[in-house]
């Protein structure tokens, strides 16, 4: 399934609103684009990105293509295994 950006942004906006952070649709869109494009750029520089409570991403540059890896944190796997049982 391809994540629908507008639906995803709507959910995030509503959840942020519930936490007292009220930002416009365009701001959420900009945050989404900026986050993903900066993550891509940082990985391309060979750095590791650690997303709190989710996992780590890093990219290994090889020829002819680069491969991006992801290592989930243990708690994420535990949550997934618990919810899927």
């Amino acid at each position: 399934m391809i994540m629908d950006e507008s639906k995803l942004c709507d959910n995030i906006r509503n959840n942020l609103k519930a936490k007292g952070i009220d930002i416009s649709e365009k701001d959420v869109h900009n945050l989404y684009v900026s986050t993903l494009s900066n993550m891509y750029a940082i990985l391309d520089e060979g750095q590791t990105i650690e997303v709190p409570d989710f996992g780590s991403f890093w990219r290994k540059k090889t020829e002819p293509t680069s491969v991006t890896f992801f290592k989930p944190i243990e708690r994420l796997l535990e949550r997934i295994n618990t919810k899927r049982k």
Binding site: I12, L16, N30, S37, I49, P52, T65, T68, F70, R79
Partner: protein, 294 residues
């Protein structure tokens, strides 16, 4: 080991680009990954543009995440026009209060005249806040003016536009012909399997029996499909071999002779190949890997 990115540094860069507070950026990133986690749990297989594909697979008694990173950045741009407009509106409101008694006929004035008027007013700011607004408004007006200038239709522009249209149409026709050729010639986007007979594998000591069922060394070059067929009974499982051996698989999906190859433990009954939907999901995963490598 690679340099670790400081989370605050990432927040700072995004905050600068989006002109939002760093605390908002931090909350957004946290919420984004919460939403991704929710989707993985519900759908088992999701694709996030610019990030990649996450898929949950059953491995033994538990589930694991199979991740295939995106090789292309997100195809979208940041739009800050609403922020410029907000600043402009704020300035206009202030101006409106100051000049309540001015005649409404000013609305009908020429846009250029109005722009000049605004510019002349913003050029003499009274305090730092006004100065910041003035800079934003001036930049906005400049960009609007440049856009309008670019929109002016001249014969040269018209010819260029026609040339671009012709090029696009030609490319579309070529693409359609290419797709037609592929369909007619019976090709599919599936890695071609090198014809191989009687390939033997040397088995090594398996030091990680939790994750791998075997560690082998092929004695000649071998395709992922051949290994999948040998060890799982069906070549459709080749993406699992790929995932465990990304570093030694070449872009022809071949593992070279002498490479230490890991055979991951998977529940081969995970996918009911007689069920069309499940088989096509595995097939789709393979196709995604194939497209990302090619």
């Amino acid at each position: 080991m690679n340099k670790q990115t400081d989370q605050l540094e990432l927040n700072r860069i995004i905050a600068q680009q989006t002109l939002l507070d760093e605390s908002v950026v931090e909350a957004f990133i946290s919420q984004l990954f919460i939403e991704i986690e929710k989707s993985i749990i519900v759908d088992s297989h999701i694709k996030v543009d610019g990030l990649g594909i996450f898929r949950i697979i059953k491995s033994g008694d538990s589930h694991r995440i199979l991740y295939l990173g995106s090789n292309t950045p997100i195809d979208n741009s940041i739009d800050l026009s609403h922020i410029s407009r907000e600043a402009e509106n704020r300035y206009s409101d202030t101006r409106g209060t100051d000049t309540e008694l001015e005649p409404t006929s000013s609305l009908e004035e020429n846009i250029m005249t109005e722009e000049k008027e605004v510019e002349s007013k913003v050029s003499i700011p009274q305090d730092p806040q006004d100065e910041a607004d003035a800079i934003v408004i001036r930049n906005f007006l400049d960009s609007e003016r440049n856009t309008n200038r670019n929109r002016v239709v001249t014969p040269t522009n018209h010819r260029k536009s026609n040339l671009v249209k012709t090029c696009i149409i030609t490319l579309i026709i070529l693409a359609v012909l290419g797709i037609g050729y592929i369909i007619l010639s019976g090709s599919s986007i599936k890695p071609k399997e090198k014809v191989m007979n009687n390939i033997t594998f040397k088995e090594m000591d398996n030091t990680d029996t939790i994750n791998y069922s075997r560690i082998i060394i092929p004695e000649s070059d071998v395709s992922l499909q051949y290994i999948a067929r040998t060890y799982y009974g069906n070549d459709i499982y080749w993406p699992y071999i790929f995932e465990a051996n990304k570093n030694i698989v070449n872009n022809q999906f071949i593992i070279q002779a002498g490479s230490i190859t890991k055979i991951p433990k998977i529940a081969v009954d995970l996918v009911d190949l007689h069920n069309g939907n499940e088989a096509s999901t595995v097939q789709a995963l393979g196709d995604e890997i194939y497209k990302s490598i090619r």
